[in-house]
Amino acid sequence: MKRVFPILAVLTGALLSYALYEALVAAPTEQTMGSVQRIFYYHVPSAWTAFILFFINFFASIVYLIWRANKADIVALVTAEVGVVFCTVVLVTGPIWARPVWGIWWTWDLRLTLTLVLWLIYVSYLVLRRFSSSGQTPLLAAVLAVFGALDVPLVYFSIWFFRTQHPQPVIGGGGSIDPRMLHVLLINWLAFSCFAALVCWFRYRLEVMRRDMDETLALEALLEPHASSTRTSPTGSAG
């Protein structure tokens, strides 16, 4: 395992560099939008990557609810954090793209709105994780993740219908995509996925180490009756 990580890191670095070159230099310039359109190669793959990460989070949460596996909880935490980051990228690149091209900062199109709602749900997920007492965090977070996942199809349909009632400009335009552009898009997606996997893996190992350390300290506190362990005694349980 230890050897795979640096190899993956190097591979990801190479892939990202290649993808960058493809996106900024090699890809054909779009007719109407010009070079600004190239942000598309960051906007769309980030969205796909975020959605995949949240999907994994949903599965990990279900696994936790059924089997109470600690590892599942860590996977859920990690994918949520990295997913929020990629979501943010989508939400930032969207307006940057939209403003020069369509003259508006924001539009309630399907992808952007769905991303915004997911971002909100998962930020609230992360806040819940931070604000709940440590014993209950995995359980409450898993429950919230299930609620969020159930919400997603409902969000999708509500926005879809909203847009048919109130037509909005679509970022990215409709119509078919040039095969060369599709090629660059997929390369960027692959690069982003590898990068996401790398970061998740790193964060996962970090969290495992942190929890191991906590457990060791807890065990020490267990064996030493009057040691100077930091007391985090809960409300109402003195004695």
Binding site: L217, A218, T232, G236
Partner: protein, 222 residues
């Protein structure tokens, strides 16, 4: 006689604070156990774990022959320092509601009986929030007795209670023990239970450090 409660290597940790550090003990039925110790010794944590309110970090609890605490919770009575009663309702109204939680038969009669058993008046319409501390503790005990539990878990039932009420509660508990119940009382006031307790269980820093027989145990051949 099979043990009523068996605790095996019970550990409860809150982050880095270990409230229980491996408690192992057997408790026989039809006994009154007084659990004593300083603040922070783990008495309340142990009681809450027995009540099923606090899943342990490690270890097992076997109650009335099963480790599935949820299945026997109908035979448990629990009382803590907060009254576990609604301040805005009268004693009878409170108990009538809690009787539904336990699906008690003949609820009204049972509620009245149990209130009388703790020497209170069932027809008192005053809301519980206006009771004196002694009355409130007694009403809380009445609530714990509603379902005629086999095991009673009482956490500091005599705190802030006047001496006469406390003595009355103790004799009531002794009577309940004699009728076949197993009673655990966490308290700071060991003297109150001197005549009634079968055993004193001393806790310190999350472990049971000593178990001494009470006067009641030595006064009867067991």
């Amino acid at each position: 006689m099979p043990a009523a409660v068996i605790v095996t290597d019970l550990v409860k940790q809150f982050g880095r604070f270990a409230a229980l550090r491996g408690v192992t003990a057997e408790f026989a039925p039809t006994r009154l156990y007084a659990i004593l110790g300083d603040n922070g010794a783990g008495k309340t944590t142990l009681l809450r774990a027995l009540a099923g309110l606090m899943p342990p970090t490690r270890g097992t609890i076997s109650m009335l022959g099963t480790t599935n605490l949820r299945s026997v919770c109908g035979q448990l009575g629990y009382m803590a320092h907060p009254s576990l009663l609604y301040d805005e309702m009268s004693g009878m109204e409170n108990l009538r509601y809690f009787a539904r939680l336990y699906d008690v038969n003949n609820a009204d009669q049972r509620c009245a009986d149990v209130i009388r058993a703790v020497k209170l008046d069932p027809s008192l319409a005053r809301p519980v929030g206006q009771y004196s501390q002694g009355m409130r503790q007694r009403m809380s005990l009445a609530r714990a007795l509603l379902n005629d539990p086999k095991i009673l878990l009482l956490d500091e039932p005599f705190s802030n209670v006047d001496v006469r009420s406390a003595r009355e509660m103790v004799s009531l508990l002794a009577g309940l023990r004699d009728s076949g119940k197993t009673i655990f009382v966490v308290t700071h006031q060991a003297s109150l239970l001197e005549g009634a307790a079968d055993e004193f269980v001393w806790m310190e820093a999350g472990q049971i450090v000593n178990r001494t027989p009470g006067l009641h145990a030595t006064s009867e051949a067991r």
